[in-house]
């Protein structure tokens, strides 16, 4: 296996043991990037290679003096183009912000660099993260399919092996959905657990900074490195966890292959945990509440740009522009109607989590759709918009602020399927512990470096 396909933990061990060097790891990622990027298009900006090489040499030289520098040390990582970086442009995937150069790094980027990370570049996002299928980014598993979004570039880069892990953001599922479609782990932590300073907001009351990795263990370590130091220390729950599995007949339309993977995951978990069937409370309201909050909150942030555009300001993409304009017209009483309904969802989940510790659901109702399809087509002949269907199971974690992770758990039709685990506030280690029992290391089928086949860990 090439070093760019190791997990962060495996690579860190190899660095510590002298079996791998930081420059070699960097070269491996850049080589992989060169071989895949024409097809995958995951990166908006890549750092200057001579500067990267210089930093890698410096980190390698310091490694022998550092003792145990931590698992992020020397790891090339990507950052969603919604997150400020001082050394690279941050354009939010938008013509509106073309050439924007922030004065300083976002706090989460600063933390990553302080831990010895190598910032490889900025990964593509849907314009201002306002969408679920990042335009132009191909799914490494099948290039005609979408990588999902809006952290599509981050997920595709980790899946393709062009970086070791990546930072994303998640407003109604924008870390977990692309993670699921691309076969990687995507963690959306508890609201506010990773600082949002320096991150361009989409909807402030729903947004969370998250991480995309190849394993749950890597997600735990990257999250620990990025989280607010004021939070309680991370600790695993020693007791036997109670896992609630979302009943299939209450999920609405879901592809059979996705249901089969969730069922297999539930049976795997039953060997280690107390597993019971549960209903997802108020499921039909999660997406309406989410969009009822998101649309006006997004317009609120963009209002100065919408009302006072510079004379030569390039336009937003038209669909996003239309949504932003519509959001300006939302009445306060309607926004508050969504806020009140949100409280009902929060209360219903609080009640559910009195009976269980972790909730298992599909992450998305379907595998990665063909990028050119306008909507998901169901066998009964109906069509459903991607924007409101893909986030059906992920929106609740943003509405409630609870932590959730998507874990690759199998294949359907040769494409990755992720399952989602949701826990109580600040129970990231619990959901990652459960996730590690079912995670499946998957390899992308491009570039001739696919492993012999997926295998259970």
């Amino acid at each position: 296996m090439e070093s760019n396909h190791l997990s962060v933990h495996e690579a860190a061990r190899a660095l510590r043991d002298g079996k791998l060097s930081v420059p070699d790891l960097l070269a491996s990622c850049l080589d992989r990037l060169d071989r895949t990027e024409n097809d995958v298009n995951a990166w908006a900006h890549v750092a200057d290679r001579s500067m990267l090489a210089e930093k890698a040499n410096r980190l390698q030289a310091a490694l022998s003096r550092s003792g145990d520098p931590g698992v992020l040390y020397g790891m090339p990582f990507g950052v969603k183009d919604l997150v400020d970086t001082a050394d690279l442009p941050t354009e939010a995937g938008s013509e509106v912000f073309r050439g924007r150069r922030p004065a300083q790094d976002a706090e989460c980027v600063r933390s990553s660099l302080d831990h010895g990370g190598l910032l490889l570049g900025k990964t593509r996002t849907h314009e201002f993260a306002y969408g679920v299928r990042t335009p132009g980014v191909a799914n490494p598993w099948e290039l005609s399919r979408t990588a999902g979004g809006s952290s599509g570039g981050s997920a595709a880069a980790v899946a393709a092996g062009s970086c070791m892990w990546a930072i994303g953001t998640d407003t109604l599922g924008s870390v977990r959905m692309p993670a699921s479609l691309c076969g990687v782990v995507g963690l959306k932590p508890t609201a506010g657990a990773i600082p949002e300073q320096g991150v361009i907001p989409l909807a402030w009351s729903l947004d969370a900074v998250g991480v995309l990795t190849r394993t749950c263990e890597d997600a735990a370590s990257t999250f620990a490195a990025l989280r607010r130091s004021t939070l309680p220390a991370l600790a695993r729950t020693p007791r036997r966890l109670r896992v609630g599995v979302a009943r299939a007949d209450g999920l609405g339309r879901v592809q059979d292959g996705v249901l089969a993977v969730v069922d297999h995951a539930a049976r795997t978990l039953a060997e280690s945990y107390d597993v019971t069937d549960v209903d997802i409370p108020l499921l039909e309201h999660h997406v309406p509440v989410g969009f009822g909050l998101l649309v006006p909150e997004a317009s609120s942030w963009h209002e100065p740009l919408l009302r006072n555009p510079a004379p030569d300001l390039p336009p937003y993409e038209q669909g996003i522009h239309a949504s932003l304009l519509a959001g300006l017209q939302v009445r306060a009483v309607d926004y508050l109607r969504a806020a009140r309904a949100r409280r009902a969802v929060v209360a219903a989940f609080a009640e559910l989590f009195e009976r269980i510790d972790v909730l298992l659901t599909p992450t998305t109702p379907y595998v990665a759709p063909v990028a050119s399809e306008p909507a998901v087509q169901w066998p009964d002949g109906t069509a459903e918009p991607f924007e409101t269907s893909m986030c059906r199971f992920t929106a609740c974690a943003n509405v409630t602020g609870l932590p959730a992770v998507s874990v690759p758990a199998g294949l359907a039709g040769g494409l990755p399927v992720g399952v989602q685990l949701i826990g109580r506030a600040h129970s990231e280690l619990d959901i990652l512990q459960v996730g590690s029992r079912i995670e499946m290391r998957l390899s992308p089928p491009i570039g001739g470096v696919r492993d012999d086949g997926p295998s259970f860990r």
């Binding site: 669909g319 304009l325 409280r343």
Partner: protein
């Protein structure tokens, strides 16, 4: 036209404006339906600004 009285950059002479206006109107219509669907749930639950102290009292 959408918000023309408030100075957003939708220009009537711009051929894009008509299409943009149409799409924004569609989003507004969808949003109205979204908010309407939440009425029952919102009204069945406690006011948004309920104080935790109220429950204690």
């Amino acid at each position: 036209m959408i918000d023309s009285t408030q100075g957003t950059h939708v220009r009537e002479s711009d051929p894009r404006s008509a299409e943009l206006e149409k799409r924004a109107a569609q989003v507004q219509q969808d949003l109205a339906a979204t908010y309407a669907s939440l009425t029952e749930l919102a009204e069945a639950h406690a006011p948004c600004f309920e104080s935790p102290a109220r429950g204690a009292a």
